[in-house]
């Protein structure tokens, strides 16, 4: 343990499933409240009050779902890779659980980003799908998610499954910049920038403020969903521990 002195105390508390269960239990209602307020407020704002884009008209409102889900899909993968590294290095069970719980949420965000993008593409580009760099790398990200989920579900033993997914997540994260870079280069090489995504335009504040609200709302939603799944996972894995027994008896 001598070599772990430099790590702060809370890091080791994190390793305790019981402590995590309790702390997430206390945080969960607040995050849920924040999620509901931010998402409801953001949706109303973006649908009713944000101005329409002068070029794209009202289809522009899809951005308020599209961008948060795309950002979240990428962040969730980073989180998984970090959790995987921690799980492999310090053999921390909680990190394994985070990795496993984050995967389906991240995958559903990637699906949402792809679906909203595709829907948006139809009115703007006249086609559901275009082999653009951003789109392609999002699709590959979805494949990476699906791979991790499939591997996780194919291995019966929990800790083996967690470690195998961690290795895969790490290999994937090494590859993400390579994939992004290669895909971008490939596209600019083959195809002139006919359909280039509008690089962050100088949006007026009443356009990007609701976007900010939505992004924060999505992060809160991610936290809520992650904590819910995490708590389930904790109960399942610790089902033999006495504190879970007491917890079950209390309810």
């Amino acid at each position: 343990m001598a070599d772990k002195k430099w790590l702060p105390r809370w890091f080791f508390q994190l390793a305790s499933p019981r402590w995590c269960y309790q702390i997430t239990g206390r945080l969960l209602p607040w995050f849920l409240l924040a999620t509901l307020i931010l998402l409801a407020g953001g949706t109303v704002w973006s649908l009713l009050f944000a101005p329409a884009d002068y070029q794209q008209g009202n289809s522009f409102r899809i951005i308020y779902l599209h961008v948060p889900s795309a950002i979240l899909a990428q962040s969730a993968y980073m989180l998984m890779a970090v959790a995987g590294a921690i799980g492999l290095i310090w053999k921390m069970k909680m990190a394994d659980m985070v990795l496993k719980s984050a995967a389906p949420i991240g995958a559903s965000m990637a699906v949402l980003a792809l679906a909203t993008g595709a829907i948006w593409g139809k009115p703007t580009w006249g086609s559901w799908w275009v082999w653009d760099a951003r789109l392609t790398s999002m699709l590959i990200l979805l494949f990476l998610y699906l791979g991790i989920m499939a591997l996780n579900s194919a291995i019966e033993n929990e800790s083996t499954a967690a470690q195998a997914s961690a290795v895969l997540a790490l290999v994937g994260v090494v590859n993400i910049p390579i994939i992004k870079y290669s895909v971008e280069w490939w596209n600019t090489l083959h195809q002139p920038a006919t359909f280039k995504l509008t690089e962050k335009p100088a949006m007026p504040p009443d356009m990007w403020l609701p976007l900010l609200v939505m992004v924060i709302g999505f992060y809160c939603f991610f936290a809520v969903s992650l904590m819910q799944r995490l708590r389930n996972e904790i109960i399942w894995r610790e089902r033999r521990a006495s504190w879970v027994r007491e917890l079950l008896n209390k309810q």
């Binding site: 998402l39 949706t43 649908l47 009713l48 009050f49 944000a50 101005p51 329409a52 008209g57 009202n58 289809s59 409102r61 899809i62 779902l65 599209h66 889900s69 389906p104 949420i105 559903s108 965000m109 699906v111 949402l112 679906a115 909203t116 829907i119 948006w120 139809k122 009115p123 939603f221 809520v224 969903s225 819910q228 799944r229 708590r231 389930n232 109960i235 399942w236 089902r239 879970v244 027994r245 079950l248 008896n249 309810q251």
Partner: protein, 58 residues
Amino acid sequence: MSFNSVSEFLAMGGHGLYVWLSYGLGAGVIVANLILPKLSRNRLLAEQKRRLRREETA
């Protein structure tokens, strides 16, 4: 407020289908992500309680 009437709001300047499809999908994904863990939690707790009871009697 960018819209003058409900029908205008629903039409979204001709892009109603796309916008509402997106928001519907978004709502679906988010709600599913909140509800499914809740359901599986209920199932898990019931299962474990049953197991505890079984072990107590055994």
